[in-house]
Assembly symmetry: C2
Homo-oligomer: 404 residues x 2
């Protein structure tokens, strides 16, 4: 049985993802669709609106056969680590192809870009270093470095967010010579950062913004979502009275920072170059997450970067937790969140030949990464009422979700 992998965040699972899934099915001709999905915190440093278990249900009901978790330590990271975790997880579970969305939409452009990049990598690294040294943000610094080596053209613009991610997947595959065929489909209409819902394929950002603004799934929002996503959004809210957003975590994060000293702060992943002083100083005068990030941000420290740091602070993720990942070749386990009957049939075969454990319940396997997973999950649920918090945390130790 052939499997095709998708790399998704699902916040929430919208029509764009559905479109992508159908394209991937058609192009790959695979009989099993596997999604590696971010857990409760997303790449841009935000809590997911609803938890990973409810998003897993939406994904399975929409045509995905297997949902595996992108470990937390890889999820809230810049594109290199995010790509390493995603691609290596899909590789361990044995996909023969990976399909990713991009602004470019032309697979051959990515392959050509990779070849150019390898040829000029030393120039790129030198430019990048110089740009960072000037005080530019990482996105800007790498954008100008790509320009220098001719990778910011109309055909292949590596300053666009989905192209950057896609290029990172390609690099991970080709650098490690993985037996995976990668192809891309064009991200249509709404971009990654678009804030208004302008079509039936809206960006996750715009849907998210509208959801929090309206406080319920309006008809306009519903028109951009698969029915299964709408159902899970409503179900989660019905059970918890919460759709997660950063502001709800302000009291916890503020308390945490106000009881840390500078050296502890500097031990948190992402707190570099004396940022601990800026975080502490601004904390004294702030009354919301928004106000706080706004007070910290600089040309170099972008909004997204600070949001990621806030996730690491909230979840107590230290430099010592992340450092070893940068040099490790693969992932230490694959965690199964859910599957259909079709997915189960695939896994029954696949698990016999896997090189790393397939984890189906949290305490089953002991690993440093799973401890980080547990802390992240605890932090995510910490804003719920005690009785619901307890009940929802138990999902982590339950069996995977099986539907269909």
């Amino acid at each position: 049985m052939d499997a095709c992998g998708l790399i998704v965040e699902y916040n929430p699972f919208h029509n764009g993802h559905l479109h992508h899934l159908l394209e991937a099915k058609r192009e790959s001709n695979a009989s099993c669709m596997i999604a590696v999905m971010s857990g409760n915190f997303l790449q841009r440093g935000e809590p997911a609106i609803i938890d990973k278990f409810h998003r897993t249900r939406a994904a399975l009901a929409s045509g995905i056969d297997i949902v595996v978790e992108l470990p937390f330590v890889y999820a809230v990271q810049s594109s290199d680590l995010f790509a390493k975790g995603s691609v290596q997880t899909l590789n361990e579970i044995g996909v023969s192809s990976i399909c990713f969305g991009s602004e470019s939409g032309t697979t051959s452009n990515f392959i050509t870009s990779y070849e150019i990049f390898k040829e000029k990598e030393s120039i790129f690294q030198e430019e990048l270093r110089k740009n960072l040294h000037k005080g530019l943000s990482f996105p800007d610094a790498s954008k100008f470095a790509y320009e220098q080596i001719g990778l910011a053209t109309e055909e292949m613009d590596l300053s666009q967010p989905n192209n950057i991610l896609g290029f990172s997947y390609i690099r991970e595959i080709l650098d490690h010579q993985l037996a995976i065929n990668a192809f891309t489909v064009k991200r249509t209409k709404s971009g990654y950062h678009d804030q208004t819902i302008s079509s039936s394929i809206a960006s996750a950002t715009s849907i998210r913004k509208q959801l929090f603004h309206e406080g319920n799934v309006t008809e306009q929002i519903a028109s951009t979502l698969p029915a299964n996503t709408e159902q899970q959004l409503n179900e989660y809210y019905h059970k918890t009275s919460v759709w997660h957003n950063w502001e709800q975590y302000f009291p916890l994060l503020h308390y945490r920072v106000m009881t840390m000293d500078h050296s502890e702060l500097a031990g948190i992943h992402g707190v570099d170059e004396g940022l601990e002083y800026r975080i502490k100083k601004t904390a004294k005068h702030t009354q919301s997450i928004y106000e706080w990030i706004d007070a910290i941000k600089t040309k170099r420290y972008t909004w997204t970067r600070i949001q990621r740091i806030f996730v690491h602070l909230l979840t107590n993720t230290k430099k010592e937790h992340i450092q070893p990942l940068k040099t490790s070749e693969s992932v230490p386990y694959v965690r199964l969140l859910g599957m259909t009957k079709q997915g189960q049939a695939y896994l029954n075969q696949q698990k016999k030949v896997m090189n790393v454990p397939l984890v189906t319940r949290l305490p089953q396997h002991s690993s440093f990464l799973l401890e980080c997973e547990e802390k992240a999950s605890n932090a995510y649920y910490s804003i719920l009422k005690p009785s619901i918090k307890r009940q929802f945390s138990k999902q982590e130790i339950g069996p995977p979700i099986i539907i269909g």
Copy 2:
């Protein structure tokens, strides 16, 4: 000008304290009454109902001339460290006498007991060690050890809480040969732990219990409080809508523990002998502070001891913060919280001859202990609304309170 020192917690400042103050004034014949007062967290490991600034106002309005702070690192501790911090602070500010309340009420009994104790100290320590080894709690272990050396008689019962504290003050004075004259007044009627208000001199515990039960200062409660205390209780509530109690801190403390690993927990002051596993394990199933302490407590780990540990967890107070205090001879500074005109006149003279800095605003003097003070204060105010939290935290950097 002669000064007499009192060691108080003021939670709240009740008629018993007023009685004690009048007795102390009469007995010492001092012209200046100085109180060393616990800050926002009290010896038994509880947040004070209202903050130290409002309690300072009540104390000054009730006849105290100077209020200085018992540094946080000494305040939430067993009697030895508590006594060291209190007595040394009063010594640095130059009191010629100290008056403490006790169940015994006879000063000579304490002096005699000290002499017996010094003579038989090695037997006491050996008994104590053996009893602790058997798994007894510290209070029980020391009670039986005192019995062994004849210090649990009717005249001098060192199993009673105020006698224990008083004996610790005497030891601190005589061990260091401080030029301080100590005397005791009898604690009348209601004991330390009494839970009902039975007379106009009620215990702090009973007043506290009643206050939280009723949610306002009833006539019965008011009859046990000086008018100034009642006023400050009401004023604090009016400004913040809060009287502090442990349950309000449950979401923060639970979040904190759920995102710590075992080794971090074991670094917190008081978390010894594998207690980190018990704290983490019970956290998963608990929905309140009460339920949580009840699940952790054992014969050896008493309710009070766990409450103290919870304060250290909440305030992020580590073993490395407290360890050096045990061997230090004195306190590194004296922090002034408030004074009357009379107190000011005393301090104008006294500060010229003091051996340690007199700190009147928090950032004035840099010290490890003051950093702990700031973290404790931040933790205490963390349950207030953001705008009020910000305003109240600023009290720490303001000038001392001056009245009269």
